[in-house]
Symmetry: C2
Subunit: 200 residues, 2 copies
DNA sequence: TCTACTAACTAACGATAGTTAGTATAGGAT
DNA sequence: ATCCTATACTAACTATCGTTAGTTAGTAGA
């Protein structure tokens, strides 16, 4: 028995399972998806899934934790490109650009995180919420910094943060790369909208 | 056998079932909620639910269609208060105010519509999507009118519409009436944010 | 060549889901 | 007083779920 389960090393079959489960969970929901459906999408039998993952919830947790860690690390990597004396506006726009880019390029992962976290065990759910909070608090800090510096003027900094986050998260629900907007163009649009929201 | 099922006339027990199912579906998800759980929340046995609704999906459809019709009718009622020569800005702010008020006051209904429509039958799902599209297209029209009149300046009117819709929908996920923001205050905040998004 | 391991298979288990059948009871209308 | 309807109950059915057991074919290393 091997049961990779860890998002690090993994066989080709485990990756096939991840891909199939991600698509099925995101489109049909975690509870509504059966192990037999996942197996059929991969081309094996349901019992063989247990050679790669310990349980159905293990697959969900694998996908969820990977998605949240990717989101955090891509966001942190973007922010790290800024000079230490960047203005709050520069920080905000950089955050928004990474936020939009992730949600445009990883629609299924984002959908999973935003709609299917209820399928996780209590312990995994707690860890996921912590990762999500860590991500969201980064925007809250930027917002507070801008307000304190007098360059952002928002009626309520908590509400404004949620609004910016959520309009980006929604991108994962409708954006299609084959449409008439490229990802950089989409990021441009949201940079403008976010910038207007905080400017007096 | 009576099986009211229609959102019009209904017994007190049917309303109890609606309330319990709404809460359970919204918090735990449709697929993850069992008929026995709903029944227990009402204080009856699972089989007795079938005196009031034909199936589990019937309950979901009852709640979903009611929610979408309420959303549409409240929005239309708000727009009807405007004079015929109202400006695009007045129309936008009126739409946003009703949008936010509904999502603040009806968090569970909104959550249901936004996350659990996948549990509906194909036919009911089609009707729900049509109702939702009717709602969303009203904002699109306002946006187009404002852009055509030269008073709105948005980088992409489709994206801007989605952004305004979604930042309001998200309110249903976090707003609590016992917090430090009243519904009118919350509407004020979002009026400002939406107004800024379309103003050059 | 023998061995150990991976990963697939078939078959089946126990639990639980939505649902139905049949029955009992209370209250209003005739 | 008696029917009738509404609504509750108990009991059970059937389907399907996630999961386990036991087995087998292929493969890399000693």
């Amino acid at each position: 028995m091997s049961v990779d389960s860890s998002p690090g090393m993994s066989s080709a079959t485990a990756d096939d399972i991840r891909r199939a489960a991600l698509r099925l969970f995101a489109t049909g929901g975690y509870e509504a998806t059966t192990m037999r459906e996942i197996a059929a999408a991969v081309g094996i039998r349901a019992a063989s899934l247990y050679n790669h993952f310990g349980s159905k919830e293990d697959i969900l947790w694998d996908l969820t934790s990977t998605a949240l860690e990717d989101l955090n690390s891509e966001s942190e990597a973007s922010m790290a490109t800024l000079s230490p004396d960047a203005t709050p506006t520069e920080k905000l726009l950089t955050f928004v650009r990474a936020h939009i880019a992730y949600h445009a390029k990883n629609g299924e992962q984002a959908t999973l995180v935003n709609m299917q976290m209820g399928g996780l065990s209590k312990s995994h759910h707690r860890k996921s919420v912590a990762l999500r909070d860590r991500y969201e608090s980064r925007l809250r800090s930027i917002m507070q910094e801008g307000v304190a510096a007098g360059v952002f003027h928002v009626p309520d900094e908590r509400v404004a943060s949620f609004a910016i986050l959520q309009m980006g998260i929604a991108v994962s629900g409708w954006y299609r790369p084959e449409g008439n907007l490229s990802v950089p163009q989409l990021c441009d649009v949201y940079e403008i909208l976010a910038n207007r929201m905080v400017a007096a």
